[in-house]
């Protein structure tokens, strides 16, 4: 398992919104939920709109899922699993992320589940 990499300070993130980080050549969208004191990291690439924009989506909840909405075509992606709620064949890669001594840290991403199509 790879080591944790420092990305930025937690205070660089505006609560309930996202930023984009460059991690080993990959674009990663990192979100901070103020109320739940939680941080999530997923791929910044929107597989439907095909552009690096996920960090600029609006955060929210739908039912029991914590989601980000694509700013391009508004599909919702579950931040825990990367699953697209509107299209079961689309996924965002997710990354282990933690807050450690005031720093946001990332580790190598998990593979996207096998496509069922």
């Amino acid at each position: 398992m790879s080591a944790w990499t420092d990305i930025c300070r937690v205070s660089d993130l505006v609560p309930d919104s996202g930023i984009c980080a460059l991690y080993k050549g990959e674009q990663v969208a990192i979100f901070k939920f103020e109320t739940e004191r939680r941080v999530f990291a997923v791929s910044n690439f929107d597989p439907i709109g095909e552009a690096n924009v996920m960090s600029r989506g609006i955060l929210g909840t739908l039912g029991t899922d914590t989601v980000v909405a694509s700013p391009l075509y508004k599909q919702h992606f579950c931040l825990e699993t990367g699953r697209c709620l509107e299209d079961e064949n689309q996924w965002l890669k997710t990354y282990p992320v933690r807050v450690h001594r005031g720093q946001i840290q990332l580790r190598e991403g998990l593979p996207v589940p096998e496509q069922t199509a």
């Binding site: 990305i7 930023i19 460059l22 552009a51 690096n52 909405a69």
Partner: protein, 841 residues
């Protein structure tokens, strides 16, 4: 080989046939259309609108482009002079010859003019074509008094037209009552008294003997009873006659009193010649309404296509309309002439309402009805009659004023085949199918099926059918914003305003649940901005905004943004134009003129936005709010300062309006325009708010729309001065902001507003709700707190922090790729990207 079909006549029915054939295109029909008028088909039903706010373009039912796209040969100003039935060949007056396999006569009718001496004088007109209307307008310009001969349906339309042309108007009718065909004596008497109270004079039982020179006015009409009437203009509207002269000369069978005889397939006495519409005689009847003509067009289409042929089985002549502002409806046997029939009558002289039901001898079936002054029951009554539905135990409840008991028949009792909209022939089954396919409101269904988009008489019934279907599907008709708030947008706006709530967090904790989502967050963000107008990038608000608002720019498909500076009224100095050009060329931005008279700069990356805006602000620009649900632009024509025709200074007014309302956040984007004269070069009638100059001031239009579902704006106020206009717009905009749903344009908002335009006028002009001052002061607050969002942003290092692609690196997005087209860049397509990569490696 293709079947060659020649259509003679391009009225509403002839055009309907062409539309039908094109829509069901089997590729087997080659169409030729020969039109006698100088323009293609237009809407004769709404002809009187030409005197109010409609142009011939508005009334047009088709255009040259349609004919060219569908490769239909057509000619205007050309009539068929002869038909050779044996050779199947027509010859036109211009000498052209057209061979046909099938011929369709849709020659319509002509107005009957009684042969009184003097009827051919210069200012004597008929009322049928746009050319007739132009002639009537020209006469009205040099006249003060007008007479309509004929008190039928069309005659009253014509009288309305003369009244709109500011003539003292008289109606002269031969029969003892108005609308003798459709109304019984009592209904007619009430209609007459209503018309007279509007200042028109009605003369019944008058037979015109001759028209001579007048003493006081231009002409004198002398009647057989010795009395006379003086007038400047005369419009004959004494009924129609089928235009059957061509058929007569050709030797086709005609009725005793004219009309081309047709059978159930709409075939004439020649097996290759059809006749449809007002020229056709079916079972001894001429149908002078458009709906039966449309049915005939449908019959002929089915026989031409050969698949699934249908027959003409007669048509219902029931009708509902507004004549001179009076609601009038007539169904079936309005006079109660059926043997043994019985009547229920409700007469209210105070409120001027008359209603009569004619029922069968056993009281079980409705066979006729008359409604004057209040025609709301029309839809229900018509369905009862057409479908032979058994009447309720107390049929009188159908016409008595509501007493708490429901007066409506349940729509569930209507058969699936019941025709709800007769203008567009839409059945209950089609409406239900439309709901099944996802439509959820009468507005959606209207857009999907066209139901209720003709005369609008079935609007109430349509809503009932839609609501009933939704209940059946178990769909709760709810307008909650989303799962986090059990309130509509309007209710949320009321809560925010009344409880003075300033942040999303406060609102969701007190009145919602959960964390919110991408639907409720921007909605609440917009409401907060409408009332308190704080900067959208303030930390409390920034996470509520769509990306366009977060970066104060519009995201494009590749994740880059567009930049649009405000150009108020579309007026720009050469120096500023050069500044835009220099900035665009320095940052290599794709440059395009928008439809709203400003300049769009595309392809800017997040980190470039503040630098570009700093340069624009230094050059004197401010944000154009193109990214927001907000006022976009006020388009203008050059107006009276330069234009030869301009009557008011439209540019100055447009700039004033744009600067007044700039930055106003609203449920959806807002567009406005100001035209300097009635030629309307700024296209104000397609805007949310449109202002058109008149000699005396301004005409104000509201709730127009371009885009996906264009809507012609409604005339709201006439000849008002500038302060009044501004007061109305202040109130109108704030009322819209308060009451509209999320992402509801003013057009749809008005269509869903109970009471419609009249109610809106009551609220805005007559201040019926007593909130006029409040709306104005809310608006004053927004205007007083305006700030250029970009100017504030570039001066604040905190806000600038987010304008970079990576939080931990200075590089831009490496995924972007552009190609050059016509000297400018654009995003590369997927295939082009692959090529670019190959070249690079």
């Amino acid at each position: 080989m293709k079947q060659r079909v020649v259509v003679v006549g391009n009225g509403m029915v002839g055009q309907k046939l062409v539309d039908n054939i094109v829509a069901d295109d089997t590729g087997e029909v080659e169409l030729v259309v020969i039109a006698g008028e100088s323009r293609l088909a237009y809407d004769r039903v709404h002809l009187s609108g030409y005197f109010v706010d409609k142009t011939s373009e508005d009334l047009a039912l088709t255009d040259e482009g349609f004919y060219e796209d569908n490769q239909i040969k057509y000619s205007l100003n050309d009539k068929v002079a002869a038909i050779d039935l044996a050779e199947r060949l027509v010859t036109t007056t211009s000498g052209r010859k057209e061979r046909y396999d099938k011929l369709v006569l849709a020659t319509g009718s002509y107005p009957f003019v009684p042969p009184v001496p003097g009827h051919e004088r210069e200012h004597c007109h008929v009322y049928r074509t746009i050319d007739d209307l132009d002639a009537i307008m020209a006469s009205a310009d040099c006249s003060e008094v007008g007479v309509v001969v004929g008190g039928g349906l069309l005659g009253l339309e014509a009288a309305n037209a003369l009244k709109n042309l500011d003539l003292k108007t008289h109606i002269v009718e031969f029969a003892p009552q108005l609308m003798g065909v459709q109304l019984d004596a009592n209904g007619s008497a009430l209609l007459q008294s209503k018309i007279e109270s509007l200042g028109l004079e009605v003369h019944t039982g008058k037979n015109t003997e001759k028209i001579t020179d007048g003493a006081e006015r231009r002409y004198r009409m002398e009647f057989t009873d010795g009395s006379f009437l003086e007038t400047d203009v005369i419009v004959f509207s004494a009924g129609i006659r089928p235009e059957d002269s061509l058929a007569r000369e050709t030797g086709l069978a005609l009725g005793e009193r004219g009309g081309i005889v047709i059978n159930d397939q709409c075939l004439t006495s020649d097996p290759d010649v059809f006749a449809i519409g007002e020229c056709a005689l079916w079972q001894g009847k001429i149908y002078g309404l458009v709906a039966p003509g449309y049915q005939m067009a449908k019959v002929v289409t089915s026989h031409l296509q050969g698949t699934d042929p249908v027959d003409f089985k007669g048509a219902d002549m029931s009708t509902k309309l507004k004549l001179l502002g009076v609601d009038v409806a007539s169904i079936g046997d309005a006079h109660g002439e059926t043997e043994g029939c019985k009547s229920f009558v409700y007469q209210d002289d105070v409120n001027q309402v008359y209603k009569r039901l004619v029922v069968s001898e056993n009281g079980k079936k409705l066979i006729g009805a008359v409604l004057v002054g209040d025609a709301q029951a029309y839809g229900t009554l018509l369905q009862l009659k057409l479908n032979g539905i058994k009447l309720p135990n107390r049929p009188e409840n159908l016409i008595l004023p509501a007493t708490g008991e429901t007066n409506q028949i349940g729509v569930e009792s209507l058969p699936e085949s019941a025709q709800i909209c007769s203008c567009y022939d839409v059945s209950k089954a089609q409406i239900c199918a439309s709901v099944d396919s996802g439509c959820r409101t009468p507005g959606d269904v209207k857009a999907d099926t066209k139901a209720s988009s003709g005369c609008g008489g079935c609007a109430m019934l349509l809503k009932q059918v839609v609501d009933h279907k939704l209940v059946q599907l178990g769909i709760e008709v709810n307008n909650h914003v989303c799962e986090h708030f059990e309130f509509s947008r309007q209710e949320l706006a009321d809560i925010v305003r009344v409880k003075q709530i300033r942040t999303f967090k406060e609102l969701i904790q007190a009145h919602g649940r959960g964390l919110g989502c991408d639907v409720c967050k921007p909605t609440v963000g917009s409401i907060l901005a409408s009332y308190w107008n704080e900067h959208v990038l303030k930390e409390d608000h920034v996470t509520l905004q769509d990306t366009n608002d977060v970066f104060l720019a519009n995201m494009q498909k590749d994740g880059t943004y567009s930049v649009i500076p405000r150009v108020p009224g579309g007026e720009i100095t050469p120096a500023r134009l050069i500044a835009i050009g220099e900035i665009a060329s320095e940052f290599e931005l794709y440059t395009k003129i928008t439809g709203a008279q400003r300049i769009d700069l595309l392809g800017a990356q997040v980190h470039e936005l503040p630098i570009i805006w700093k340069r624009l602000i230094d050059a004197g620009f401010e944000t154009g709010h193109a990214y927001g649900k907000a006022l976009r632009t006020v388009k203008s024509c050059v107006g009276s300062s330069w234009c030869r025709y301009g009557v008011q200074d439209s540019v100055t007014t447009a700039i004033y309006i744009e600067e007044r309302y700039r930055g106003l956040r609203s449920p959806h984007k807002l567009k406005m325009a100001v035209s300097g004269c009635t030629r309307e070069c700024a296209e104000a009638q397609s805007k949310d708010v449109g202002v058109i100059a008149t000699e005396k001031g301004w005409n104000l239009y509201v709730c127009g729309n371009g885009g996906m579902r264009p809507r012609h704006a409604d005339l709201f106020a006439v000849d008002i001065d500038t302060p009044t206009m501004i007061r109305y717009i202040d109130r109108f905009l704030m009322f819209y902001v308060r009451t509209a749903d999320r992402l509801q344009r003013t057009s749809v908002w008005l269509e869903n507003l109970d009471g419609g335009l009249e109610y809106l006028k009551d609220v805005i002009i007559h201040d019926k709700l007593g909130i006029g001052d409040e709306l104005e002061s809310d608006m004053a607050n927004v205007i007083g707190t305006y700030q250029c969002e970009w100017k504030v942003t570039i001066e604040d290092p905190e806000k600038l922090k987010r304008f970079r692609h990576f939080i931990n690196a200075d590089e831009p997005d490496s995924n972007l790729a552009f190609v050059t087209e016509r000297g400018q860049k654009r995003p590369a397509t997927k295939d082009e990207r692959i090529e670019l990569k190959e070249v690079a490696s």
